[in-house]
């Protein structure tokens, strides 16, 4: 090969490589995020979604990059959610933010996302580890369920240590409690139940379980269960431990109907109605994930994935995949 030919080929290579680099450096003017919610009527999810919408607007203003959010409600149906993911991909979404209906069945979503090379940020309902390990562009944002539960238990332990009569209302030396649990298929439900009670035991609160039931995170179901328990165990229940605020509010509804005042009810999530109940003293306490940080983390992570940028430092990922939102105890002060 002559020197001229060699020089020509090298020149072409340089041109082609530089073209490729220019293409990579080109900044996107807009990003499109497909968001699918397991149920649009879940108060906590709604709160988070509102924060994400706010943060998207802030991001747009600060970075000059247009953010299009496609928000869909899967209405508790995994097939609907799979179809929504299909639609997001066909609409060229740059990233998907999925709150899975069935956390055990995220593989279809992951398959489709991997085929289309669209990264996925799961939130609130954690897919199983085997699924999360399938691709390095899958992320999860949530709260540490054990920490939540320990905080919830600690609220009661602290109160018991300060004023035992406020918890053991009938003074018999035993705190009789009922527990309202979320869906059995949700990872947080099992952990919250186990560690809340464990923390009470570890903290030296003498407890006795009167009843427990699954109210699927729903206020109306919790209210019906609580009503049954009030009739079945009159003047016995002293404490209501609930896996979330909506169910705690359901229990409060039932207590109000029965004319029972001053019973200790604790929830989790710090939803807007939960915080209102806390303020007016109906709810003793709740554990709140910092929703500003939760929503920001979803938005920032999604934007970084869409723009193929480094993930922001303020949201450190555990094992490069999981981000745990900080939480705080909120308690009603007399």
């Amino acid at each position: 090969m002559s020197g001229k030919k060699l020089f020509f080929i090298l020149f072409l290579c340089v041109i082609l490589t530089s073209c490729q680099n220019t293409h990579k450096e080109e900044q996107k003017a807009s990003i499109r995020i497909g968001i699918s919610l397991y149920r649009g009527d879940d108060t906590f999810i709604n709160n988070i979604c509102s924060v994400v919408e706010e943060k998207a607007k802030e991001y747009e203003r600060e970075n000059g990059i247009k953010v299009i959010l496609d928000i869909q409600d899967a209405k508790g149906n995994q097939n609907t959610q799979n179809n929504q993911v299909e639609r997001f991909i066909s609409l060229d979404c740059d990233v998907l933010c999925i709150n899975p209906v069935d956390r055990m069945d995220a593989s279809v979503i992951i398959d489709r996302a991997m085929t289309a090379e669209v990264p996925v940020v799961f939130f609130n309902r954690q897919p199983v580890e085997e699924d999360m390990n399938r691709w390095d562009r899958l992320y999860y944002i949530g709260v540490d369920a054990k920490e939540t539960a320990v905080f919830q238990g600690k609220m009661i332990v602290d109160l018991y240590q300060k004023r035992p009569e406020a918890v053991d209302r009938n003074g018999d030396g035993v705190v009789s409690y009922v527990i309202l649990e979320g869906e059995t298929s949700h990872q947080d439900s099992l952990i919250r139940t186990e560690w809340s009670i464990q923390t009470l035991k570890n903290g030296g609160v003498p407890i006795e379980k009167i009843a427990g039931g699954i109210a699927n995170w729903e206020r109306s179901q919790a209210s019906a269960l609580m009503e049954q328990w009030i009739h079945a165990y009159p003047d016995t229940i002293e404490l209501v431990v609930s896996n979330n605020d909506d169910m705690a509010l359901g229990a409060i509804d039932a207590l109000e109907r029965a004319g029972i005042d001053g019973m200790n009810v604790v929830g989790i999530d710090g939803t807007t109605p939960g915080l209102e109940a806390l303020e007016n003293g109906k709810l003793l306490g709740t554990v709140s994930a910092n929703k500003e940080i939760y929503g920001s983390a979803i938005m920032e992570l999604a934007a970084s994935c869409a723009l193929e940028k480094e993930l922001p430092e303020e949201y450190p990922l555990e094992n490069g995949t999981y981000y745990w939102t900080p939480q705080e105890i909120l308690i009603h002060e007399d």
Binding site: S50, K66, I68, L69, E276, N280
Partner: protein, 321 residues
Amino acid sequence: MIGRRGKWLLFLYVLFLVVLFLMCSTDLIIREPEREIYQIAVIIEDVRGDNYGNFRKGMEQAAAELNADVHFITLYEQSDVRQQLELMEREKQDGADALIVVPVDERQMAEKQMGIPVIFLHSGRTESTGSGSIVIDYKKMGEELAQEMSKGLEKSSPVLILTDPQKQNSADRYFLDGAETVLMSGGYSVQKIPKDEEGGFGALVQLPETEQEERPVLLAQNTEILTAMAGILSESPEAAKRVRGLYGRGSTLSVLNYLDRGQITGICVTDEFSIGYFSVSAAVRALEGDVVQNPVIMDSYYIEKEDVREPDYEKMLFPIE
């Protein structure tokens, strides 16, 4: 060795495979009809889309049926005309084929020439503007609500209108104008109560105890105020006893729940699902060159607790997508 016939067969076989490949993988032979997806941007006058739940459902239903890709945009600042105009321009530049706009200022928006179809959702203007318009006559809605409120209401009961002068859009103004006209002409004492410094209506919780026929009736300017006031009345049964009723407009889930629980006495609503659906279908028709009937005027309905479960209202208030 392959004979002459064998070579021909092999050639035909390869040719067959090539034709099959071309048929299946490309549109060289069988051309699939191209389905154009219309990009439609919906720009509302508010910073939050909370009150647009049923509207969005209707919009999404139409988008799925009519091959449109619709995205919903809220303002950064409440009722900012300049920003709404900028967003309209931005969406056009970003490739939107049509716009659906809930204008902050109806007059300024109507004068704006966009060069693409624009469907306006007006709250009072009935002349045709843009490529089509859907009119929700809030003045008429206010009049209807005031007429229903005044049924059986003694003249001694004052009407307190709960307002937020800092956040008043054209729908709020038309609505209050209609209601006030009817109430004043009916000889009622009407008093406007603006939001206090803490953003609420704390003074109403401490209303003095009065006789039944002298208790005030509350009328909320918009859905946010109606929801907030209903929340106050549900938290304070004492305050609830001192008012004769709470009225307003809107059909969000919170409003319907309060109506169902009796904290809200009556509301005026429109068929928001249909408005969402009509607006997208009008935009698509305008894009396809059809003449859009101008303007489409939406009816409003007065409902109380007992009406919520009536099949016609139930379908309208809780639409299934």
